[in-house]
Amino acid sequence: MAETLLWVLPLVPTVTALVMLTTRDRRILSAIDVGGSAILLALTLVLAREVAQGGPRALGVLRIDDLGLVFLLLLVVLTLAVSIYTVGWLEQAVAVGNMKPELLRSYFALVHAFVATMVVTVLADNLGVLWIAMEGTTITSAVLIGYHGHHHGLEAAWKYIIVTTIGISFGLFGTVLVYAAAAAVHVGAGAGAMSWSAIMKVAPTLDPGIVRIGFIFVMVGYGTKAGLAPMHLWLPDAHSQAPTPVSALLSGVLIKCALLGIIRFQTIAAAACGPAFPAQVLLVFGLTSVVVATPFILAQHDIKRLLGYHSVEHVGIIALGLGFGGAVGTYGALLHVVNHGVTKALAFFAAGKAIARYGTRDMRVIRGLLAVAPIGATLLMLAALSLAGVPPFSIFVSELMVLRAGIGYGHFVAIAIFLAMVVVIFAGLLHHVGAMVFGEPTATASREPESWSPLLGMMVLAAMMILLGLTIPVSFDRLLRRATEIIVD
């Protein structure tokens, strides 16, 4: 059952994509879109139950374990939310003329192809397949980013594809090195020597020197894709130019997939040359990201760029959690992966609606949203507060865990810098969002009533955000614990 699901899962979005090529009608397309995502979610839940009962399953180059499951769940949930949101968003975009009706089907198809590649990334057990899927995400999402077709979009797409491809190629180099080390201890090379689970079995015996270099290459390579500073420069461009649903996917899931790649290699490196080394590397990159993101968040006028830089900060926090390590830190990092994914998607959705209303991304123009669209404004405010780490919203909990780990292991300097930056960023973010939400609305703001589907999509995410802020369900907690055990055994 579970094994079959392993190859069915990537197939679902692929098929959806193909089916979509057959029609041009927007409504039908949206229906297929939502349907496909729903099926994906349903199947994933089935798989999750299987894994919870029967442990990890493998099929050829694909494998699902609890670690992958965390990311997979995030992926499919966000996909569904995005599909729901897209219905209303597209309506408006077509009306305004941002999306050409004749291109809709290819847009939908690309989105699902993108999702398919991400699913493979999460399920990949073979590091080579992981890499291929990762590059696949780059290509598909690059096209999506440039989708609007004006030269800003193309510029962003170009930067994105070039920079991440370079990063990815570093990742490939690292993969090759690790593979070399693994092949050395394996009896003979071959697909087995590239499978993560197989490598993990022999990891302690690997040549530490070469794994070391390999990990650094992977770290920088996949780190580029994950948007860690200083390789993050493509990220704000891409996030600001992509269509809003795609931005949500990029920020919510894609960079997390890259992180999963890093985590996989981290476990190998930790086994081969001691946990201290990868932890240090992660710590440095994480802290750099948090620090680098701060000034750009403060002095930002483009709301989507703001959110982009914010993703940089939060990826940094996740890296910090992994770097602080220990059960607590890793647990916190994984929790943060989910929390940030949900919250950031919500933030992008709300921002997208605001942008649609005011016809600009310039936060100096967006004013008095509360008066124009109360619910959307409230959701935007909630998302901002959650991103800033205020309870009772989810991100506070995971940041708390990360802090616990940091203090517990005595990284006081890192904690001091981290907290200082968090407070400053809090000020900046609240300043920007507060200015947008309150005050007298701008004259150019459209006052049409808020349409249901985007609100529904946002409500779902907001509910998750608050729920995860108030409690961690037992089953989810178990999942996270098992995933943590995979990383720190």
Binding site: G128, I132, T138, G146, H151, L154, F173, A189, G190, I213
Partner: protein
């Protein structure tokens, strides 16, 4: 073929690869760069052949063939076609003077040899020089991208660094599993296609080189 000869051949090929890399770096005109990268790919294919002959690993033959077909023929031809189709400025526009880039290249080469020296002998590697050459090629390729303004030269640099990875893969680990290699090459082709489309698109809409766009900042 005796191991010594294989070793010697690979070393020589490595040296030649570095030479082609230097040619790419030094190329003042896009055509030259394209030719150089084509030659480089050819050398990779040869290396693949040699290794296949030496180790009797069937996959390597296939890989060598594919490399020859795709990287040494197809991609250079595409680039060439693009250059001809849209009469872009023929000369590469370096960000920093080419001499400086060359100096950096030397630094990279030295560093990579240092690095692998500090690593100690890598088991399984055909030759001690394979790894450093691979690192040097990869990094230099990226260096080229970082120091050129035109889109096409950046693509050339990208292919060059891909070549470096391939060389490493072959010579350090007798090549990755076949499907992986194929997948990688497919990805490369796709990426190249998408990039080309973008370049042409920008050229057609706003008459500019896509790599010159810098409106998005901060």
């Amino acid at each position: 073929m005796s191991p010594e000869t294989v070793l010697m051949l690979i070393d020589d090929l490595g040296a030649l690869l570095l030479f082609t890399m230097i040619l790419i770096v030094a190329a003042g005109q896009i055509y030259r760069a394209i030719y150089a990268v084509a030659a480089q790919s050819l050398l990779i294919a040869i290396a693949g052949g040699v290794l296949a002959r030496a180790t009797g690993n069937r996959d390597l033959w296939v890989i060598a063939g594919v490399t020859l077909a795709v990287k040494a023929t197809l991609l250079p031809w595409v680039l060439h076609w693009v250059v001809r189709r849209m009469n872009v400025r023929r000369e590469v526009e370096p960000v920093i003077p080419i001499s400086a880039t060359l100096a950096l290249t030397v630094a990279i080469v030295v560093m990579s040899f240092q690095l692998s020296a500090s690593l100690g002998p890598v088991r399984q590697a055909i030759t001690g020089n394979a790894l450093p050459v691979g690192i040097a090629l990869t990094l230099t390729g990226v260096l080229v991208m970082a120091t050129r303004k035109t889109a096409l030269t950046q693509m050339v640099g990208l292919f060059a660094s891909e070549n470096g990875i391939f060389f490493t893969a072959m010579s350090v680990t007798e090549g990755m599993p076949l499907i992986i290699e194929i997948g990688v090459i497919l990805d490369v082709i796709l990426a190249a296609l998408v990039m080309t489309i973008m370049v042409l698109r920008v050229r057609s809409t706003v008459d500019a080189d896509i790599a010159d766009l810098d409106r998005l900042r901060g």
